[in-house]
Amino acid sequence: MVRVEIIRPEPNDAVATGTFLRQLRKNRLGVLGALLVVLVFVSAFFAPLIITHDPIKIMVGPRLAPPSLDFLLGTDQLGRDTFSRVIMGGRIPLLVAFASLGSALAVGVVLGLIAGFGPRWLDNLLLLVFDTIRSFPGIIFALAIIALVGPSLASIIFVIAMTSVPIYARVLRTQAQGLLSSEYIAAERSMGAGTARILGVHVLPNVIGPLLILVSMDVPAVIAWEAGLSFLGMGVRPPTPDWGAVLNDGYSYINQTPWLVIGSGIPIVLATLGFTFLGEALRDIFDPKLRKDL
């Protein structure tokens, strides 16, 4: 996924060395990000094999115990093993992130292509819809939807997908419109290529890169959202283990033990950093134009 370019600096090579160091530093972060992402994925995927106790079984140990050999991160207020809850709790944020962003990406790509290549009136109409959705403050929109349909995983996924679609669609539309007037599209059309072929073979591969980078950088935000909504009690219901839910419990008992907050906070921080670094590295490598520095 991450292409690390190894550049051998030449001696007496001040400028090239500078570029090299900069790239290496950037890519080191990218490598770190990729490692973190892999770690989070592996632990979520193999969670049932890693956990030491049943994450929802009450009173496997003492309440609010500090870490010990038996309970690696201590126990919560109901005597459940925090380590097992945190490991299992990674599955839901990842599921939410991939389900919501995946569906948002799919819908966004389709709508973006329609807006970019379709008739002018349809473009205007779609833009109006996108702007309407984006004009709601995110958290209020989420609370309103959840109040309407009730707290559940599906509603969280729906809300996040809803708010992400306009962004992706707009990015894709702008990129596609830039390509529409390019000579190679005209060349393909002059050979008699159909719209489906032009969009699928010649437009999509050239516009999907920046969009995937955008998505990878949205993953941490979604994890934080999910944790936040669960923290507010709007997400998954107890006793399902979830980073946000564990964090919420820890928050309630912060006076008695810091270990619940630490135990659930660290994976959130690591996952967020991992996806951010990875996204930035991808952006730097595949799309230098989007780079903010330089």
Binding site: A187, E188, M191, G192, V201
Partner: protein
């Protein structure tokens, strides 16, 4: 001999503002005519050049023939069949028989495709099953004089001249009867320009297709076209055999274009004819002869009366639109005699 392509009274129009704005500002005709009643034909195996500066409508004609642009009126006949009115799928069999090369050598190649996929793209589009796509790509590469290992490269790994060769190879993939080359030498160095034109000429000798060359540089096409048409503001102002026009240009604009790329000789600098001003906007076409604003021989009549096409008495194929056509012989870019020497030009 029958015409391969016959274009008659072609008119292409672009909208300059939306219908609402036109209504609000009271503009009666919110259009510009990029191509204004152009007729010509290309015979089998012949080479025709359309020459003009930017905004003369030469590229628009090419895009209309290939179907990227709709005409408001006029007809385009390809091998006896009217193709202007055909829709996308009906037109497809005719697109198989013509191919267009676009201006930007690298930019006209799809950036994520390898050369091999680019070269076999025409087969896939037209549903022609070739068992050996790799062999086909190799054959085309050999045709344009590139080694077979180029098949694995991507467009950004090609130099301008190489990309142009790939463009030519792609155009030749389906053995077309007509190739439209839009500025085939644009963006290429002088040393490579010759290579590309030589290649086109050689391939034409071997394969016998007709070529429509679109360019702004007269001298570049001199050696490979049979006939040429000079365009100004969307109209033909002079048409004829290349030889005839180079020997005896009749229109003052042709004369200026011929002199615009002189021999690189510091002692011959006086030969360059400087035209006044710039190409007028299509929004405000000049009255009378549309070239009179820049013509150094312009008279009263020119600003009032639109010149009808006249024919060279010695050559029925040589037509031009000028009230006072040049008569003299060109000697190294300089006119020796002229019916009216108004002498408005700087010496």
């Amino acid at each position: 001999m029958t015409a391969l392509l016959r274009v008659e009274d072609l008119r292409v129009r672009f909208r300059t503002m939306g219908p609402l704005k036109a209504l609000a500002t009271g503009t009666k005709a919110p259009f510009i005519d990029a191509v204004c009643g152009v007729s010509f034909e290309i015979r089998k195996g012949e080479t025709l050049a359309l020459v003009g500066e930017s905004g003369s409508g030469k590229s628009t004609i090419a895009r209309t023939i290939i179907g990227l642009q709709r005409a408001v009126s006029g007809s385009i006949c390809f091998d006896g069949q009217e193709i202007e009115e055909l829709s996308g799928t009906e037109r497809k069999p005719y697109l198989r028989r013509m191919a267009m090369m676009f201006q930007d050598p690298v930019g006209s190649l799809s950036p994520r495709l390898t050369v091999r996929s680019l070269l076999t793209e025409p087969f896939r589009i037209h549903g022609i099953k070739r068992r050996d796509a790799g062999g086909e790509a190799e054959r085309l590469l050999r045709l344009v004089g590139l080694p077979a290992d180029f098949a694995r490269r991507y467009p950004h790994q090609l130099s301008g001249g190489q990309a142009r060769r790939i463009g030519i190879a792609r155009a030749l993939a389906l053995n077309p009867d007509l190739i439209i080359a839009d500025e085939p030498t644009a963006g290429l160095d002088v040393s490579v320009q010759g290579e590309v034109l030589n290649l086109l000429a050689r391939l034409q000798d071997e394969l016998g297709m007709a070529i429509l060359i679109i360019t702004h540089n007269l001298n570049v096409v001199r050696h490979m076209t049979d006939r040429m048409a000079i365009m100004y503001l969307g109209r033909f102002i002079e048409v004829g055999s290349t030889e005839r026009i180079f020997d005896q240009p009749r229109h003052p604009y042709t004369e200026a274009l011929l002199a615009a790329n002189p021999e690189p000789d510091p002692d011959a600098v006086l030969n360059r004819i400087e035209l006044k001003g710039e190409v007028p906007s299509l929004l405000r076409r000049p009255s009378g002869c549309e070239f009179h604003t820049r013509c150094r021989y312009a008279q009263d009549l020119c600003s009032r009366v639109f010149p009808e096409p006249s024919t060279n008495p010695n050559d029925a194929e040589h037509n031009f639109r000028c009230h006072f056509p040049l008569k003299g012989e060109i000697v190294s870019g300089l006119m020796l005699s002229h019916p009216v020497s108004v002498g408005t030009e700087r010496s």
